[in-house]
């Protein structure tokens, strides 16, 4: 990378208030280490323990969702097997954004799930959470199907998402949570 490119990336990251940015393979040890770093930042910046825990929780659920999905999918090309997560501070809010490749066949179910949590208020999210808790969803990679509901419960705004088509009928799925 040239010094110019590096400067541009650094300027953009600074302007966006990025605290942590990672692009690569999501393995548990990395999720854990980034989580530790995030907590140290939050400890310095955030007076409210519960707010810091909300940000940490959203990060963990998003990162583990991606890890579990990619562990299930076993994509073989490096681009699809890796993902990005960015945690930034915007004024009084924190923003956790993540992006990963999803199979075309999974897009409809994911969209339906996102729309369901987006349109639910706090009481409905609580109900959905309880239903999922009792539903017995278990994927062998470790997912309980509750991550998105847990993320939505801790957000200040409805989740934002988009699918950008990439090759092979797949999409790059972007999810943004504002806490």
């Amino acid at each position: 990378m040239t010094p110019d490119q590096l400067s541009r990336i650094r300027e953009e990251i600074t302007r966006e208030g990025v605290m942590i940015c990672f692009n690569g393979t999501f393995v548990h040890s990395i999720i854990e280490e980034l989580g530790n770093a995030l907590r140290r930042y939050l400890q310095e910046q955030e007076e409210q323990k519960s707010a810091a825990l909300d940000v940490f929780s959203v990060y963990i659920e998003q990162a583990q969702n991606i890890r579990n999905y990619l562990a299930r999918k076993k994509f073989t090309d490096a681009t699809s097997a890796s993902a990005i997560i960015v945690i930034a501070r915007r004024g009084e809010r924190y923003v956790v954004s993540s992006g990963n490749v999803v199979d075309g066949e999974d897009q409809a179910a994911l969209t339906a799930q996102l729309e369901q949590v987006r349109s639910a208020d706090a009481a409905e999210l609580r109900k959905l959470f309880k239903e999922k808790l009792r539903s017995g969803t278990r994927d062998p990679a470790g997912g309980a199907g509750m991550g998105l509901i847990e993320v939505a419960r801790r957000c200040a705004e409805p989740l934002q998402y988009a699918f950008h088509p990439v090759e092979g009928g797949r999409s790059f799925f972007c999810l943004t949570a504002v806490i």
Partner: protein, 124 residues
């Protein structure tokens, strides 16, 4: 039967003290795979609960990811079955008072069980 799982950064300490009849879960819980992590605990409960007259569960966990919450419910369900069969089971769930989410979670668990479940505030 012994149960003694040491604490790590992402997993709680889980320890059975047969002298006091206490199963203590302490720390934070966001394992790589919660179902794998909690399976030995559920296995221990399935094996031990029928032989125990009483069991006190003490939980002091400041953060739990969603799949850990599901596993915790499995633990409480196993205790609920023992309770229905006549065992004296109870849970004491401690939470830090400066963490309202932890209180919400404790209340949600309490609403899921039929045996004594004490929510215990701890000065944070």
């Amino acid at each position: 039967m012994e149960l003694n799982i040491p604490r790590t950064n992402a997993t709680p300490e889980i320890r059975w003290d047969s002298a006091s009849g206490t199963l203590a879960i302490t720390g934070e819980s966001y394992p790589e795979n919660s179902f794998d992590f909690y399976e030995p605990v559920l296995e221990w409960l399935r094996h031990s609960l029928p032989t125990l007259a009483r069991l006190r569960l003490e939980v002091s966990v400041s953060y739990m990811n969603s799949s850990s919450i599901k596993c915790m419910l499995d633990i409480l369900d196993a205790m609920g079955e023992a309770h229905a069969a006549g065992a004296a089971v109870e849970a004491v769930w401690s939470y830090e008072t400066d963490n309202p989410r932890a209180l919400d979670l404790a209340e949600e668990f309490r609403s899921e069980v039929l045996f004594p479940f004490v929510v215990n505030p701890v000065g944070g």
